[in-house]
């Protein structure tokens, strides 16, 4: 078990290094950091001096090691656009994104799994057909259109929910939360639904496909031949086996919720990390782009690690495989 986790951890570090390298390349070679920092009227002498001071004339690997070192301390330089430390910018906006992501992940997971099981167990029923059709429409609706539609319906027409922002927030230490005020909750509803819909459809379709696959296996047939109750077969046998592959993909999907928040945050002007990123891309604010890339990769790697461990707990075959060194 420990060896398995250590190996996964090693792989994660490798992935992080590769991503850091890409981020570094972006950081270092996209646009000229010095030109963006000094004014129009700087002399070549000034620029050269600044280059040396910033270490831009050092050998490549020294710069990379310095980049990684700084990144480990959470330092990604100064945003060109906002003239503030990138780490501070991200930290300020992180709570907004995390609260949004968790809310929608929860919606996506609960409804996705439940609807997936339902449509798999009653594949021929009318309601399953309706759900499947709606889900296909859901996949075809771009997230931003869902957001606009919800805004139009609930904010413009019905005027029951706010159309943008986080509402009132409360400062808890460095964490600024919207979950402690009524307006915060009301502001969260529309963005959370918008963000969750796409993942919800994916998870639902995945659960359904996996479960249908499992229902066709020999051991389910044998379980029926053994005379187990429908309930025991569906929820005792089929569901557990369905969950094994679902955990992986659902986990990764939920990880991507954070990155997916880019669109939702833009539509609802949600003050999170995603909208910061979009604004940075528009003006090529390289330090923010690089930092965001590393941040998302970190989220991905952590979730991946959790998924691996979960997998390990659910599937006895893996436990044995790891024990014997496979």
């Amino acid at each position: 078990m420990l060896a398995f986790i250590l190996r996964r951890l090693g792989q994660s570090v490798l992935v992080m290094l590769v991503v850091a390298f890409i981020a570094f390349m972006v950081f270092r070679y996209v646009g000229d950091p010095v030109v963006s920092m000094v004014g129009q009227d700087a002399t070549t002498g000034d620029i050269e001096q600044l280059r040396t001071r910033l270490g831009l004339n050092d050998p490549f690997y020294v710069q990379f090691v310095r980049f990684v070192g700084n990144a480990l301390q959470g330092q990604f330089g100064i945003s060109y656009r906002l003239q503030q430390p990138v780490s501070q910018l991200i930290l300020e906006r992180l709570p907004a994104t995390i609260e949004l992501a968790f809310a929608s992940a929860l919606i996506a997971l609960v409804f996705g799994v439940v609807l997936g099981i339902y449509t798999a167990l009653k594949p021929r029923s009318f309601s399953s057909a309706v759900i499947m059709t709606i889900s296909l429409v859901g996949v075809s609706l771009p997230t931003f259109l869902i957001g606009i539609g919800l805004i139009y319906l609930f904010a413009v027409e019905l005027k029951v929910l706010p159309s943008f922002g986080r509402g009132q927030v409360v400062q808890l230490g460095w964490w600024r939360t919207g979950l402690l005020t009524e307006s915060g909750w009301r502001s969260l509803i529309l963005p959370a639904i918008t963000l969750s819909l796409f993942q919800l459809t994916l998870i639902m379709r995945l659960v359904r496909a996996e479960m249908l696959e499992v229902m066709r296996t020999d051991y389910i047939r044998f379980a029926r031949a053994r005379g187990l109750s429908q309930r025991a077969i569906n929820f005792g046998h089929a569901l557990r086996n369905t969950l094994v592959p679902v955990i992986t993909i659902a986990g990764l999907q939920l990880g991507s919720v954070i990155a997916f928040a880019i669109i939702t945050e833009t539509v609802f002007q949600w003050p999170g990390v995603g909208s910061l990123f979009v604004n940075s891309v528009q003006v090529v604010d390289v330090p923010v782009m690089a930092a965001y890339l590393v941040f998302v990769a970190l989220v991905f790697v952590v979730i991946n690690l959790i998924v691996d461990i979960l997998y390990f707990i659910v599937d006895p075959r893996l436990r044995d495989g790891a024990r014997t060194g496979r």
Partner: protein
């Protein structure tokens, strides 16, 4: 007169397809008496599995019972509502499926699956059910059952898992067990034990057995009575001895006729006295190792490597124009041998000479091998590219080796080859999926002949075919051997096929050639213990009880 456990009358099972309806079971009637073992035998598509599924009520949609009735101890069950039928399953009718590797839920321990089944049917507490589960495992011949009950299915071997499956099927003391090809996925040596366990358990628990199988040998050794099915209909019913010794219906006569047997029945092939001494194919000390558990990334790192030796110093030789049969169970290394001989896998050490050329020695050996050696594969569905026309499939070897280049020449040769394997030349324009399994195997033979080889490695050439088709393909292979003076290496797990086709035979076990020699000597007077066990275990119609 006692009442039959199972009585099936005029059963019809239909599958609606698009515009027409396929009758999988057509007007089938039979009875099974208490404690009786009834074999249901037939080739693929005979409707035998479907009959079993109909009895236990597990026909897959859109199939359904379209007529007739099924009675269990006189009580009609085919028209019961689904939940009432579900209550019968396991409680009064048990079932054993073919593949023990997939019959058990991999995520739960064997014990949990047993306890759950027992408690679904019998009013026992958790602890009582567990005790009963252990007893059942002991009865099924699982050693250290009390410890192993908490193991997961993957921790058991295939044979052990099938024992667990049988224990599960019998757990609630049903009156009837339907065993659908219970041993077909297992090795010969395990097969015999499983049949014994099945019979013993059913006898001690008083259950009748409906044994569904394609293997007449299994029925010959196991069943009291047998039912022969063909195209959804019952052809013949009778005691096993009667049908095997004195079949009445033409289909049964043909079927029994085409089953090869390990005992020499027909004329003896003339002993190999007059052959030329020079071996045409010479295998010397062939070894193949595999590294275990190394992914592409870890391979880059130094470290100790676990090595599995799949083939261990195997040596034999084949005279020109003869057939050498290589026999072994799964995992014995016989397919690995084949791959090394045809050039798909590089030997770790040892040599392979064909007509004096070392086939693994550089470009020269490579060229000689491609010219002289060909292969026929097991699965005729996978060995022909489904997107290619037959003409292109058969022409590929001759084009690749430059035997025929211009179009009409290629076409003439392909047509000629198809005729040789007894197919219409018109087959050229068709795709493989338009042919039956036997016809496909003939196309594969035509392709092998296309490069005008002298030596053909046949890896289980008939294992995927029905017996009657197997007989035709084997006949064809013999005829072609005669015509072209071909040398065969026949690899098979089927001892009867090897005995019928080969002049010499080698027995492979765990990568080691335990015995080899003239076919009659080995079969009639085996020396190695393993060979004796194998010959003893193989189900054969000559062993009819």
């Amino acid at each position: 007169m006692t009442e039959p456990v199972l009585s099936v009358k005029n059963l019809v099972v239909e599958f609606p397809f698009r515009d027409d309806v396929f009758r999988a079971v057509d007007d089938v009637s039979f009875e099974i008496m208490p404690g009786e073992v009834v074999g249901v035998v037939g080739e693929s598509g005979a409707g035998k599995s479907m009959t079993g599924a109909a009895v236990i009520g597990l026909i897959e949609r859109p199939g359904h019972i379209a007529g007739g009735e099924i009675r269990l101890k006189g009580e009609r069950i085919d028209n019961l509502p689904e939940d009432a039928r579900a209550k019968l399953r396991g409680k009064r009718i048990g079932m054993v499926f073919q593949d023990p590797l997939t019959s058990l839920n991999p995520l739960y321990t064997v014990g949990r699956q047993l306890v759950e089944t027992i408690r679904a049917h019998l009013p026992l507490s958790e602890a009582e059910a567990r005790r009963k589960a252990i007893d059942l495992l002991v009865e099924a011949g699982i050693p250290k059952a009390a410890e192993r009950i908490d193991s997961y299915p993957h921790q058991f071997s295939g044979g052990m898992r099938q024992r667990v499956v049988i224990a599960l099927a019998i757990a609630a003391e049903p009156e009837l067990i339907i065993a659908d090809e219970p041993t077909s996925a297992l090795d010969v040596s395990v097969q015999a034990q499983i049949i014994k366990v099945l019979k013993k358990l059913c006898a001690s628990h008083g259950a009748a057995i409906m044994l569904i199988t394609h293997d007449m040998g299994v029925i010959a050794q196991t069943a009291d009575r047998m039912i022969v099915m063909h195209h959804g209909k019952i052809v013949e019913t009778g005691t096993v001895g009667d049908i095997i010794r004195r079949p009445r219906e033409p289909y049964t006569i043909k079927l029994i006729d085409s089953i090869p047997t390990i005992s020499r029945t027909g004329e003896t092939i003339a002993p190999e006295a007059a052959n030329d001494d020079r071996a045409f194919v010479e295998i010397r000390d062939l070894v193949r190792d595999f590294e275990l558990g190394r992914s592409a990334f870890t391979r880059l790192l130094p470290g100790k490597v676990e090595i599995f030796r799949a083939v261990n110093e195997v040596s034999f030789s084949i005279a020109k124009g003869k057939t050498f049969g290589l026999v072994g169970e799964s995992g014995s290394g016989k397919s690995t041998c084949a791959k090394m001989i045809v050039g798909l896998l590089r030997p770790t050490s040892g040599s392979i000479h064909v007509d004096g050329h070392d086939v693994w020695a550089g470009a020269h050996g490579l060229r000689e091998r491609r010219r002289r050696v060909q292969m026929i594969f097991q699965d005729p569905y996978a060995s022909l590219n489904p997107r290619w026309r037959v003409a292109d499939i058969v022409a590929e070897p001759m084009k690749t080796l430059g035997i025929a280049r211009n179009r009409t020449e290629v076409q003439d040769r392909v047509a000629d080859l198809l005729t040789k394997v007894r197919l219409e030349p018109g087959a050229m324009k068709k795709f493989p999926h338009e042919f039956s399994g036997g016809q496909r195997q003939r196309i594969a033979i035509a392709r092998a002949l296309s490069s005008q080889p002298e030596f053909i490695v046949c890896d289980e050439p008939t294992s995927a075919l029905d017996v009657s088709v197997q007989a035709q393909v084997l006949d064809l292979m013999s005829a072609l051997q005669e015509e072209f003076g071909l040398t065969y290496l026949l690899i098979s797990h089927n001892l009867a096929v090897v005995r019928q086709m080969s002049s010499a035979v080698g027995v492979l076990h765990n990568g080691v050639l335990v015995e080899s020699g003239p076919v009659d000597a080995i079969f009639d007077n085996p020396q190695a213990d393993y060979t004796k066990m194998l010959l003893d275990a193989v189900p054969d119609i000559s062993k009819v009880a």
